[in-house]
Symmetry: C2
Subunit: 320 residues, 2 copies
C-alpha cells in the first residue's frame, strides 16, 4: 500500500501544496531554481504537510490559511535535507544524485539557507506569535540535533538516551510541530494542541527508528543508497547501539569506516539479522506507535482521525 492512499480525500489539497512548493523555490536565479526544483522532483512522502492538513481538519479548515504552514514546514524539512547532504557526504538520496553531487558544497549550503528563508516568508502570513515561537524553537532544536549528530559520530560509548534525544531533535520535533501548527492554524481549541504535538512526536520517533532499521534491512535499490550507510558514516543508530552490546558484533562495528567493503558490511548486517537487535528496535518503534494511538483515542472522533491512525500504523510497517 502506498502512503498517499491513506489520505486520498486530501488529494486536491496536497496537489495544491505541491504546486505551491514548486513556486516557493522558483527564483529569479536560474542556478538556484534548478538546484531546488531538482530536490523537489526527487519527491518525498510529504508527511509534514499531510500532518498539518489532517490536524487542521479538527478545526476550522481553510486551505488558504493552512497551506502556508504546510509549505513552510516541508520547506524546512527540504532545507535540512540539503544541509544534510553537505554534511553527510551522502552520494545519493532517494536514488537521485544529491544537490551536492551536482553542485559543490558551497552552493548546497546557500541553497539550504535560501529554502529556510523562503519557509519563513510563508510563515509571515500567520499572525500568531505562538506559531512563530513553536517554529523557531523547532529550528533551534533541529540545529542542536544536527550538531550533536556530528559530535556523536563514531562514539561507541553513547547510550540509548543520547540516541533518543538526537532523533527527537532531528525528526520527531518537526513532525510534532507539524501536527501542533496545523491545529493552531485552524483554531482547534487550545487544550488539544499538546495532544497533537504528542501524537506527532511519537509517530516521529517511530518513523525515525523505522528509518534506522530500514538502513540495515532494505535493499540498495529501495534505499537509493547502499545498505548500512549510517554505520559507514559513523552514525550510531538504534540497531547498531543494540548490536554494540554483543561482544563480537561490537568489535566488527567499531572497525567500520570508509575502507569497509560491501561484502564486509553485508556480513555485519547478516549477523545483525540473525541476532535480536532488529526485533528489539522494532519493539521500541512499536512502543512509540502505541503511545501515539493512545493519544489519538483522546481526540474527537471524525473521519480524519482514521487517516491519522492509518498513517501511524503505516509508519510501523513501511518497507521503504
Amino acid at each position: 500500500m502506498k502512503v498517499t492512499m491513506l489520505y486520498s480525500f486530501l488529494k486536491a489539497d496536497i496537489e495544491y501544496i505541491e504546486r505551491e512548493l514548486e513556486q516557493a523555490i522558483s527564483s529569479s536565479s536560474p542556478s538556484l531554481r534548478d538546484a531546488s526544483l531538482h530536490l523537489l522532483q526527487a519527491g518525498g512522502k510529504r508527511i509534514r504537510p499531510v500532518f498539518v492538513l489532517l490536524a487542521a481538519k479538527f478545526g476550522d479548515y481553510r486551505i488558504e490559511r493552512v497551506k502556508n504552514v504546510a509549505v513552510a514546514l516541508e520547506l524546512i524539512h527540504m532545507a535540512s535535507l540539503v544541509h544534510d547532504d553537505v554534511i553527510d557526504n551522502a552520494k545519493l538520496r532517494r536514488g537521485q544524485p544529491t544537490v551536492k553531487a551536482e553542485w559543490d558544497n558551497r552552493m548546497a549550503m546557500y541553497t539550504g539557507d535560501y529554502i529556510f528563508a523562503r519557509a519563513l516568508e510563508y510563515m509571515t502570513d500567520i499572525e500568531n506569535a505562538e506559531a512563530h515561537r513553536i517554529l523557531s524553537n523547532t529550528m533551534v532544536e533541529l540545529c542542536i540535533g544536527e550538531i550533536n549528530q556530528i559530535k556523536d559520530k563514531y562514539q561507541y560509548s553513547q547510550n540509548l538516551r543520547d540516541y533518543l534525544r538526537r532523533i527527537k531533535r532531528k525528526t520527531a520535533i518537526l513532525m510534532a510541530a507539524s501536527c501542533q501548527l496545523g491545529a493552531l492554524a485552524a483554531d482547534v481549541p487550545d487544550g488539544l494542541h499538546q495532544k497533537f504535538y504528542q501524537f506527532g512526536y511519537n509517530v516521529g520517533m517511530a518513523f525515525q527508528i523505522t528509518d534506522d532499521i530500514l538502513d540495515f534491512t532494505a535493499t540498495e535499490k529501495e534505499l537509493g543508497k547502499p545498505a548500512g550507510s549510517d554505520l559507514l558514516q559513523g552514525n550510531v543508530t538504534l540497531p547498531a547501539l543494540y548490536a554494540l552490546e554483543d561482544e563480537r558484533l561490537r568489535e566488527q562495528i567499531m572497525q567500520v569506516g570508509e575502507h569497509t567493503t560491501k561484502q564486509e558490511m553485508a556480513e555485519i548486517i547478516h549477523q545483525m539479522k540473525r541476532s535480536d537487535v532488529l526485533d528489539r528496535s522494532r519493539a521500541l518503534s512499536q512502543r512509540y506507535l502505541r503511545k501515539a494511538l493512545v493519544i489519538l483515542d483522546e481526540l474527537p472522533s471524525n473521519r480524519t482521525k482514521k487517516s491519522l491512525r492509518d498513517i501511524a500504523k503505516f509508519v510501523g510497517k513501511r518497507k521503504y
Copy 2:
C-alpha cells in the same frame, strides 16, 4: 575616532544588547557555545543594532521591545559571517582564527544555522506581520546575494550593475532593514519607514564599497587578513571592476589566483593606487552617502539625527 563614540548616549543600551547576544548564543551544547562565543568575542562594530536603536529613537523608544529586533539582526549578520567563512575559505576574519579554522566546515554550517534560528526566536516577540515579512524577505535576498557572489567569482566580464546588485543583497538590504525595523518596532509613523529603509540602504552601499576599497588599501594588520584577499578569492569588487578597464591591469588581475604571491599582489595594488580606480570607487561611495544625508534631512530633527549623520560620515572616512 572610534565609531562607538558616535553613539555614546546609547552606551548602556548597547551593552545590554551585547549581554543579550552572549546569552542568545549560549546553549546547552558546550561545543556550540564555544564556537559561537568565540565569534561574539571577535567583536564587530554592531552597526545593525545601533541602526535599530537610533531609528527607534524617532518613535516610542522602549528598549525591552526594540532589543529583540536589534539582537535578531546582529545574529543574522553573525550567522552570515559564519557561513561566509565556510564559503570563502577565509583563514582569518577580524584577526581571529575563523570558526572554520578551529572546527570543521560541518560544525560551522550548523553553527550558522543555529544562530539564524536563534535570531528567529528573538523575533517571535514582535507581533507584527510586516516586521516578519521584512525580515524573511531580507534573508531571502541575502541568500540570493551569496549565491550570486559564488557564481560571479572570477567572472571578469561582469559589469557595475552586477556588482551593485550583489552588494545591495549582501550588505545594504540588512542595514536598510535594521533602520526600517527599528522604526517599526518603536511605532514611528508609517510614512517615515521607507525613508529609514532608504537611509540604511544608501549607508550600506557606501559601507560595502568602502570595505571593498579597504581590502586593497589597508594593511594586513588592520584588515586581519592579507590585502587583496577579495581578488585572491575571485571576488570582483568595485576597484577591481574599474581596474579591469585598464588593459595592463586587466591582464594582471585575470591571472590572480591561489598561486599569486604577496609580492605580485603588492605590485598590482601599487599600480591600482597609482591609477584612478580607488578615487573613482571613493567617489561612488560618496554619492551613496550624499543620498543618505539628503534622506536624513527629511526626517524630524532631534539629537539622534546627528548620530545618524555622524555614522554616515564615519562610514565614508573609516580607515579600517
